[in-house]
């Protein structure tokens, strides 16, 4: 039996959709997987004397991520410098994620519980910083917290402190900068899930003699968990690769992974090591994403 007109249209539609998405798929393959393959291949080559690589297979790029020969007594030991740098990046990203969650949750709750018009205004205010370049925002923060900056001058004038606080070039400065930069990425997904939250559940909780803490823990948190997870991932991942903020506010005294990779491709002239660390960073990010997907899936199963 010949297919009905409707069936034919659907089939054509599907085929057309497929053809139409082909350019996007091609671009994805070439632009996302291609460069990654290059990075992967480079991580298994020998560093050239003046940068670049020699086409000679070597696993040294990878082994030197984890173990290094002591430059003086030639003994092998764990590459503690690399581990310290990795751990610093992960630690700083985790703290930033925690702090943005602490600040972001009440903010998102506040916005979600306003009336619709006010809500739109508050959301708009949250997105305003995105209009300005990251570099400029970071320098602006620097202007506020530097020794002769706005904050110190203000506190001195008010007589709260007698000597300027040294905030720039400390981990505190980096944290202030990162929390400021990534806060909107936490607030927006949190808002999205709190906004869907049915406030009648709160009353139901109280009616059943739950304390405020219990309502928060047993009712609110489980329901807004997807928002928390999404926000945390959105903050954690870019934090790991942060380069500009630690460089400007941290004074560049302590490296993060991003700065370390840059060193290998620049003055260090060890592209294979840089490539290997880039891949490793990618693996860490993928693991974080797997947790995310599992958390979300778990959520769906419960529902």
């Amino acid at each position: 039996m010949a297919p009905t007109l409707e069936e034919r249209t659907t089939r054509d539609q599907i085929r057309r959709n497929w053809w139409l998405s082909l350019p996007a798929l091609a671009i994805l393959t070439v632009a996302a997987i291609g460069p990654l393959l290059v990075v992967l291949v480079y991580s298994f080559l020998t560093p050239g004397e003046y940068g670049n690589v020699e086409w000679k297979f070597s696993t040294e790029g990878w082994t030197s991520v984890f173990v290094t020969k002591d430059i003086f007594d030639e003994t092998w030991k764990l590459a503690d410098a690399h581990m310290t740098i990795f751990w610093r990046s992960v630690k700083l990203s985790l703290i930033t994620t925690g702090l943005t969650l602490l600040v972001g949750f009440p903010t998102a709750w506040f916005i979600a519980t306003r009336e619709p018009r006010a809500k739109a205004l508050w959301l708009f205010l949250i997105t305003i910083p995105f209009w300005t370049n990251l570099l400029i925002r970071t320098f602006a923060i620097n202007q506020i917290i530097r020794t002769e900056g706005l904050l110190n001058t203000g506190l001195l004038k008010l007589g709260i402190i007698s000597t300027p606080l040294q905030i720039t070039y400390t981990d505190t400065a980096v944290l202030i900068g990162m929390v400021y930069v990534y806060l909107p990425l936490m607030v927006l997904p949190l808002f999205a899930s709190i906004d869907r939250f049915d406030m009648r559940l709160l009353e139901a909780g109280y009616d059943l003699y739950a304390s405020r803490a219990q309502v928060l823990r047993r009712v609110i948190l489980p329901l807004v968990k997807p928002g928390i997870v999404a926000g945390s991932i959105l903050v954690f991942i870019p934090c790991l690769g942060a380069y500009v903020t630690p460089r400007i506010l941290g004074g560049g005294k302590l490296m993060m992974i991003g700065n370390f990779i840059e060193l290998q491709f620049g003055q260090g002239r060890n592209w294979p090591l840089g490539a290997a660390i880039s891949i490793l960073l990618l693996i860490i990010v993928s693991i974080a994403l797997v947790f995310y997907v599992r958390a979300i899936n778990g959520e769906n199963r419960d529902a």
């Binding site: 004397e49 003046y50 940068g51 670049n52 290094t68 430059i71 003086f72 503690d80 410098a81 690399h82 310290t84 740098i85 530097r146 020794t147 002769e148 040294q166 720039t168 070039y169 004074g251 560049g252 005294k253 302590l254 490296m255 700065n259 370390f260 060193l263 491709f265 620049g266 003055q267 260090g268 002239r269 060890n270």
Partner: protein, 341 residues
């Protein structure tokens, strides 16, 4: 009819331009090419100059090596000229097209990286030493102890530029070695010294002009031109030439093998070896230029500047910071990583 006429005249005009107008693509360090000198060149020869910035020798080399960069002239530092030549990226200069070649100062003619200046011409040169705010510290500033063994007054207020080669050279010379030293004894002292000094530093940052000028730092490892710019903002800033040895560097113009605008490139190279134009480059970047006779055209404030005119007693303490390779580079990268871990 009117439209046809317009089209024809436009066409004529555009072909006319194509014949008279040439182009030149210059690949240079950022904030380093005097706009006035470029404008003067463009007006004199009717050549449009396009400048692209780079921020490190390694970046520039990688880009040129990748091929089809589209640049005609590049300005690498001393040690890199030989690398470009060895890799076959640049062409030997036809000196008959460079009448001003004779203006190169004698001491910059037979340099270690280019005997007889057959491959490169001088652009700017300078030194790497230390800058100190004399209000904070009144002692001897002509020493690398400023950042390696800092006096109490400066501790916690010192910046070190995040430039591995320059800092390593200063530290190696301070501990009795030479630039690109590969002896384990010396490098061990360098490592221990740097690691012990680091807690007394405040930051490792590039923006020395602004931060010395604003008094955010009390002292910094610095380039002489930056030190001068900082002093013009803040008269308390002074530049020191470490007597244990300080770094020297020179940037040079080279002509790429795949340059498309070779004639214009020669015109430009010859143009900036004219003493007046060389002085123009210096007036902008605040470094010396290596062209004899340019002193007469230098801005007044540079003729006597202690940052630019090296005091006689320190003249032989400067050493060229070449690009280290092999074991020496391995040491440097490992120590540098250790230092910033």
């Amino acid at each position: 009819m009117k439209r046809l006429l317009l089209a024809t005249s436009l066409l004529a005009a555009s072909t006319g331009f194509a014949a008279a107008e040439g182009e030149l693509f210059l690949y240079n360090w950022g904030n380093y090419t005097s706009p006035d000198v470029v404008k003067k060149f463009e007006e004199k020869y009717g050549v449009k100059v396009t400048i692209t910035d780079f921020d490190s020798n390694d970046t520039a080399l990688a880009k040129v090596e990748a091929g089809a960069s589209g640049f005609d002239l590049v300005v690498p530092s001393a040690g890199f000229v030989k690398v470009y030549a060895d890799k076959g990226l640049i062409q030997e200069l036809d000196l008959s097209k460079l009448p001003n070649h004779k203006n190169i100062a004698p001491e910059w003619m037979n340099v270690e990286w280019d005997q007889g200046r057959k491959w490169s011409i001088p652009y700017q040169w300078g030194s790497t030493g230390v800058s100190v705010n004399t209000k904070d510290y009144g002692g001897d500033i002509n020493t690398s102890a400023i950042f390696l063994d800092p006096p109490a007054e400066l501790q916690g207020k010192i910046n070190v530029i995040p430039e591995m080669g320059d800092v390593m050279a200063l530290a190696t010379m301070y501990y009795g070695g030479k630039v690109c030293d590969d002896s384990p004894e010396v490098m061990k002292k360098v490592r221990d010294g740097l690691l012990a000094a680091k807690p007394k530093w405040m930051s490792m940052d590039y923006s020395t002009v602004e931060k010395m000028g604003n008094h955010d730092y009390a002292a910094t490892v610095d380039w002489n031109g930056s030190a001068m710019r900082a002093r013009l903002k803040n008269p308390d800033v002074a530049y020191g030439y470490p007597k244990e040895g300080y770094g020297l560097w020179m940037d040079n113009v080279v002509l790429l093998k795949d340059a498309k605008n070779v004639e214009n490139a020669y015109l430009f190279m010859d143009f900036i070896m004219d003493p007046e134009n060389a002085a123009g480059l210096s007036a902008f970047a605040r470094y010396a230029n290596g062209i004899a006779g340019s002193d007469a055209f230098m801005p007044e404030d540079m003729k006597t500047a202690p940052e630019i005119v090296t005091p006689a007693e320190f003249k032989d303490k400067g050493h060229f910071v070449t690009t280290c390779t092999g074991k020496a580079l391995e040491y440097q990268t490992a120590i540098w990583t250790e230092l910033q871990k």
